[in-house]
Symmetry: C2
Subunit: 194 residues, 2 copies
DNA sequence: CACAAATGTAAATGTTTGTTTACTTAGGCC
DNA sequence: GGCCTAAGTAAACAAACATTTACATTTGTG
C-alpha cells in the first residue's frame, strides 16, 4: 500500500492560487460561506492559512473569486443556447456528476452568500444575464412576461439542483439524464412555447 | 413622542419560548444557521442569551425547534390538497408577503442546514412527505415517475422562492399573484396532467 | 406576608474565528 | 555557485463565538 503521499507539489504561486480556488469552491458549495473556515480550506489544499490572505486578501476575497469562476462557467453553458438545446443541456448538465465547473456546482455557488451587499449584486447580475439569454433563446420579443417565464425555467433548474445536491431527496436525487429529460421537456415547452 | 419602551412583558416562560422561536426563525431564514449568532436572536427578542440554552439546550436545539415549526406549517399547507388547488395555492402562498408561517418562510427554513446529520434527515423526511402529497393530488398511481414529477413541481416552488426572497431577482421578485398564476399553471399542468 | 420555585440577568469561560507578523525555505538569474 | 526575491510556514493576535455559572428578581401560593 502506498503511503498516499501527495506528489510533492513544487512551489508555484499560480498553481497554489488555483488549488485554493478549487478546494474553496467545493467547501463553499457544500457548507456555505459562514460554515466554511479558512483553516478548512487551507487544510484541504495542504497549504498554510496565511496564503489565503496573501493571494486573495481575505476570506471574502476568496469567495468573490469563486463566484467569478462560477459566473464564467455558467455563462459559457448558456451562451448562444437555442430553445431546442435548453432541455437537453439542462438534463445532461444537471444529471452529470459534480465535476469541476459543472452546472450544478455553478448554480449552488450562486446561491451562497457572504452577507456582503456587493456580492449580492454580483449574483443578481449573473442570474439576470442568464435569464435574459434563456429568454432570448425563446426567440420571442424580450418582454417582461418572457423574461419572467425564463426565470421560472431557471428556478426549476435551481430547485432541482438543490433537491439533488444539498437535500439528496429521493427519487429526484438519484434520477439520471434519461429520467429527467421527460419532465424537463414538459416544463420548458410549457413555459417557453415556440 | 413616546419613549418607544416595549410594553414591559410579564415573566412567562411559554411566551418567551415562543418569542425566541419567532425571532430565531426569521434570522435563520434570512441569514442561515452559521451566520446567525445566539446574541443576534437574544437581542431581537430583547432577552438574555442564556435563555436560549435554558429553553432549547443549545443553538442547535433552537434550530431544530424552528424546523419543526416549518414542518407543521408546510404540512398544513399541502394537506389534502387537490390537483386544482396546487397552482392557485402556490401562486397565492408564494406571492403573499412573508408573514409568520408563510409558505415562502417554511420553504426557506427547510433549505437551511446546521450541519447536523439528524437535521438533514428531518428535512428529507418533511420534503418527501410533501412531494408524496403532491403526487397523491395528481390522482394517479403513486409510481416513481409521478413522485419524480411531483418533486419537480416542488423544485419549481423552491426555486421561485429562492429567486424572490434570497436573490431578489427582478422581475420574478416583484411578480404578484396574478403574474405568477399563468406560468405556474403551465408548469403544473405540464408535469402532472390529469 | 413570607418564602420557594420559576424566570431572568450579568459576567466569565474556553474555543474558534480571520488576520497579521516574523521567520524559513526554495528557485531562478547573472 | 552565491544571492536575492518569491513562496511558504509557524506562531501569535484580538475579536467573536456558544455555553455555563453564580446571582438577582419576579410570581404564585400557603
Amino acid at each position: 500500500m502506498s503511503t498516499e503521499q501527495v506528489p510533492r507539489r513544487r512551489r508555484n504561486a499560480a498553481d497554489t492560487r488555483q488549488l485554493l480556488l478549487h478546494v474553496a469552491r467545493l467547501r463553499f458549495i457544500r457548507d456555505g460561506y459562514a460554515a466554511t473556515t479558512v483553516r478548512d480550506i487551507a487544510d484541504d489544499a495542504g497549504v498554510n492559512v496565511a496564503l489565503i490572505n496573501r493571494y486573495f486578501t481575505s476570506k471574502e476575497g476568496l469567495f468573490e473569486a469563486c463566484l467569478g469562476m462560477a459566473a464564467s462557467d455558467i455563462n459559457r453553458d448558456v451562451d448562444n443556447i437555442t430553445l431546442d438545446q435548453i432541455t437537453a443541456r439542462m438534463a445532461n448538465k444537471i444529471a452529470t456528476g459534480t465535476d469541476e465547473g459543472s452546472l450544478q456546482d455553478s448554480l449552488m455557488m450562486l446561491l451562497r452568500t457572504s452577507g456582503e451587499e456587493r456580492v449580492n449584486l454580483m449574483r443578481r447580475e449573473i442570474l439576470h444575464a442568464v435569464s435574459e439569454k434563456l429568454a432570448a433563446a425563446a426567440g420571442r420579443p424580450a418582454d417582461e412576461e418572457t423574461l419572467l417565464r425564463a426565470q421560472v425555467v431557471l428556478a426549476t433548474a435551481i430547485g432541482i439542483t438543490l433537491l439533488r445536491t444539498s437535500l439528496r431527496l429521493a427519487p429526484i436525487a438519484n434520477a439520471d439524464e434519461q429520467d429527467l429529460i421527460g419532465p424537463l421537456t414538459d416544463v420548458v415547452n410549457a413555459l417557453l412555447p415556440r
